[in-house]
Symmetry: C2
Subunit: 119 residues, 2 copies
């Protein structure tokens, strides 16, 4: 049996893990990930993405220092995002236009946010 075609064109996982306050790694929820996930879900619906794009919550994606983080599959592209404006830019540029938001994209080796990524 060959692999089936993608069930979702874009499957987004937003880390919403919460660590205790003051944890040295921080956590995505401590940076407002839940509200941003809610905003992304609502905006994706408004953009008519239903059935093609799925916005999901996920447990700890283990890149806490870069959070809030999300990953878009099957592309495998990771983003940091801090604001509704960041969410809008990811939806428009990545999902609608099929390009990348270079400013927010995380590299594989990245372990800390760049200065231009720190909201």
């Amino acid at each position: 049996m060959s692999d089936p075609k993608p069930y979702f064109e874009a499957h987004v996982f937003c880390c919403t893990n919460r660590r205790p306050d003051g944890h040295k790694r921080g956590s995505c929820a401590a940076h407002g990930a839940e509200k941003l996930r809610d905003y992304m879900k609502a905006r994706a619906r408004e953009l008519g993405f239903d059935g093609k794009v799925r916005i999901n919550s996920a447990g700890c994606l283990d890149r806490c220092e870069l959070g809030p983080t999300l990953v878009i599959y099957p592309d495998g592209v990771w983003y940091t995002y801090r604001s509704p404006a960041d969410v809008d830019e990811i939806l428009q540029t990545h999902m609608v236009e099929g390009r990348r938001v270079d400013r927010l994209m995380l590299t594989t080796e990245q372990r800390a946010l760049r200065p231009d990524q720190r909201g």
Copy 2:
């Protein structure tokens, strides 16, 4: 900027959504998804997958009738699974051997479990 190489070789999302008892779609948690996710995490650790394979919880993946479901990215392969033996088979066959567990794999169009998939 080109897309970075995959952060995880295999990124597994186990739906652990719980709907109210008696909901007509059922839910993954109602079929034991949380315990199976815990088992999968523990087994992946024992297999030495740390850092290469990530087992995550996810919110509702919207294929409730087929649950518990999981999806493995970047492959984009979906499985139904009901038992620790199913988890072991997915880890061994898909992750270790790079093949597919045909019996448990979901097709894109699938809306109900096949008889051979109903534990």
